[in-house]
């Protein structure tokens, strides 16, 4: 018997988690002014979005030469945003190996109420300390398994169980490359739902590189996810995250309860978020390549920078990074790869504009 999508999700309750002030920091090269963050967060809160993430794009401690320096520190952002948010919980991203436990303590001290502890999808065991501290600090603690398309379903489930064993109350399947298609989401979320304890929530974080953010998020809900990340106006790495106002509208029509005021969310996206960028994220050929080749979405802008600097097309650099199986955090390898490709192509080294015809 064929089940419709609507029959599988109607009547469910789903928590939407906005990412435009964290993943969207990538789109903005981590340069969102504090007052703009406050304006957007207040708007999202008033629209009933229950969770709002605020951090450097690469999480606590991400401000660096490797990932780009933030306009302000995580602490400055959090101290400004947390007090103006009335109903929503402010969350932070924390990547072991980038951020340290001290930074997580700082975030909790600022009043953050939720943490996404993120690791590559095969390396959950570096998160034990950080998940543990999240729980100790009383945070809503999430294990966030990135680049989940790179590992088989069974292996992902094992990693999800590890996150749960460390104390994660929610475990995410994260499509960091925007590579997954709905059936791949269904397989992953469905297997996680079967394996994890009933009280452990499951989440999905999509990227829109193949335009599948909304469809994949629906598939996730249908197979048991109760938390979905998206971003007002779709601001996020690569072609952005699942556009949250679009997703909220779809869920309204399908009878899913999110508690979000869809019109109010549309207004935040249109009036506050969108004007920040003259060219908002979209599936241009480079973003599309991320999704097509399964490459970490945040590699987009540094690859474009290297195209300008060394004359190697960003698309070629991204494909090569995918071939070398580079993962989240390895932004340093973008320039390294571009330099090597420029040498191999006879484009010379530093600051060469090169001859693109050679590529």
């Amino acid at each position: 018997m064929t089940q419709t999508m609507e029959s599988q999700i109607k009547g469910k309750r789903v928590k939407l988690h906005d990412m435009c002030l964290r993943d969207g920091m990538h789109s903005m090269r981590h340069q969102i002014p504090v007052e703009k963050m406050v304006e957007i967060a207040s708007g999202l809160d008033a629209a009933g979005v229950p969770l709002i993430q605020v951090t450097h794009g690469d999480g606590l401690g991400g401000s660096s030469l490797n990932y780009g320096r933030g306009m302000h520190s995580d602490e400055e952002y959090l101290r400004a945003v947390v007090p103006v948010v009335k109903n929503a919980k402010v969350s932070v991203l924390h990547v072991p190996g980038i951020g340290t436990l001290d930074e997580l303590r700082m975030a909790a001290d600022c009043g953050a109420g939720c943490v996404h502890v993120a690791t590559h999808c095969t390396e959950a065991d570096v998160a034990e300390q950080h998940v543990g501290l999240g729980r100790e600090l009383g945070l809503d603690t999430v294990g966030f398994l990135m680049m989940a398309h790179m590992t088989p379903v069974d292996a992902l489930v094992e990693q999800a169980l590890l996150m749960e064993s460390y104390g994660a109350q929610t475990v995410y399947c994260v499509d960091s490359a925007g590579y997954m298609l709905p059936d791949e989401v269904t397989a992953r979320i469905g297997s996680m739902r079967e394996a994890l304890q009933d009280e452990t929530e499951i989440g999905f974080h999509g990227h829109h590189n193949l335009g599948m953010g909304v469809a994949n998020s629906l598939a996730a809900i249908a197979s048991g996810a109760t938390r979905i990340d998206g971003s007002a106006a779709g601001f996020g790495a690569g072609a952005g995250n699942t556009p949250l106002e679009v997703f909220a509208a779809v869920l309204d029509r399908m009878g899913v309860d999110t508690g979000v005021d869809t019109f109010a969310l549309m207004d935040v996206a249109e009036d506050s978020v969108l004007p920040m960028m003259s060219k908002p994220p979209r599936a241009d050929r480079d973003s599309l390549t991320l999704g097509y080749a399964g490459v970490y979405s945040t590699f987009l802008y540094p690859a474009k920078d290297c195209e300008r600097k060394y004359g190697v097309p960003a698309r070629d650099i991204l494909v090569e990074l995918g071939r070398k199986r580079m993962i989240g955090g390895q932004e340093d390898m973008i320039e390294d790869t571009a330099l090597t490709m420029a040498k191999d192509r006879g484009l010379m080294g530093h600051n060469s504009k090169g001859d693109k015809a050679l590529a």
């Binding site: 190996g97 095969t122 070398k324 580079m326 340093d332 390898m333 320039e335 330099l339 090597t340």
Partner: protein
């Protein structure tokens, strides 16, 4: 030729790789290896190679230290037991080379500060972390030319080369490395980022070093200094290679390295582990040379005074 006799504490991968390196040394001679598991493959292998072994830890070796003339001991166990190991052996006048994150002694990166540590006759040196051994020489190569306000290092290692101990304590690993980038590397402030990549076949260790200089970087002098420092490291890690750079972008200097291991006992991609055992061996050889030449005398640290 007389050699300085050494003991290895911890018969795991690191300890065994160390043993292979010590067997080749002109200055050092491994005589003891101790562990805590009687079934340990590492101890059995060492015994086959003619090394005295004990499965009763350091205590099993202590009664023999003086008669067997052990002067240098390598600790490849864990931070939790290192302090005790060090105290017991220091009391017998044995110099400790610490490969754990305990860091009760001064941090040692051979081409940067080993000479200075030898001149101070310290009795315990800590080998920082693999990320520190790989990157701090480069930070220093820039900071010895001109002031470095900030240095940042990114170390990427193969998933298979990172054991459960480091994974459980990744925060200490990150923080110890950051602190050493500043203290030993000579940067105003430091940051370390660690990435664990599970690709198959495993990736070679990669290290990227960014330095921000206070003034406009002297490109020629920095490039020369970097190449000279790489030659220094290659003396003990032949697979320490510059892949790209140094590049200059405003005051930002970028250096891209690859570290291939010797493949003694550990696989070649695990350059991160090799650089630890190689740096530890190098350190012991430099101390050993001084001891053999009579320029350094190891002094027992009285009970209660050892770290």
């Amino acid at each position: 030729m007389t050699k300085v006799k050494c003991a290895i504490i911890g018969p795991g991968n690191i300890g065994t790789d160390l043993l292979y390196k010590l067997m080749r040394s002109d200055v050092l001679e491994p005589v003891w290896m101790v562990g805590i598991d009687p079934e340990s493959e590492g101890l059995a292998r060492a015994a086959d190679m003619g090394i005295k072994t004990s499965a009763e830890g350091v205590d099993g070796m202590l009664p023999h230290v003086l008669e067997d003339g052990v002067q240098i001991a390598f600790d490849a166990t864990s931070a939790y037991v290192h302090a005790e190991n060090s105290r017991k052996l220091n009391e017998l006048g044995v110099l400790m080379i610490d490969l754990t994150p305990a860091a009760i002694g001064p941090l040692c990166v051979p081409p940067v500060n080993l000479e200075e540590l030898i001149s101070r006759s310290v009795m315990n040196v800590n080998m920082v972390t693999c990320a520190g051994q790989a990157t701090i020489p480069m930070v220093n190569a820039v900071s010895r030319v001109q002031t470095v306000d900030y240095a940042e290092i990114i170390a990427t290692v193969a998933s298979l080369s990172i054991g459960p101990g480091t994974r459980k304590n990744i925060d200490e690993f990150t923080r110890t490395t950051s602190a050493a980038v500043q203290k030993v590397g000579g940067a105003g402030s430091g940051k370390a980022i660690v990435v664990i990549n599970p690709a198959e076949p495993p990736l070679m260790m990669r290290d990227t070093i960014y330095c921000e200089t206070a003034e406009t970087p002297d490109q020629e002098a920095i490039t020369k200094s970097v190449h000279e420092m790489i030659e220094q490291v290659q003396k003990y890690v032949p697979g320490y290679r510059l892949k790209n750079g140094p590049t200059f972008d405003g005051n930002k200097v970028a250096i891209f390295l690859e570290v291939e291991g010797l493949g003694d006992f550990l696989p070649k991609y695990a350059g991160n582990l090799d650089i630890m055992t190689a740096a530890a061996t190098r350190t012991a050889e430099m101390f050993g040379t001084e001891i053999l030449a009579g320029r350094m005398e190891l002094k027992a640290i009285a009970k209660g005074l050892a770290a």
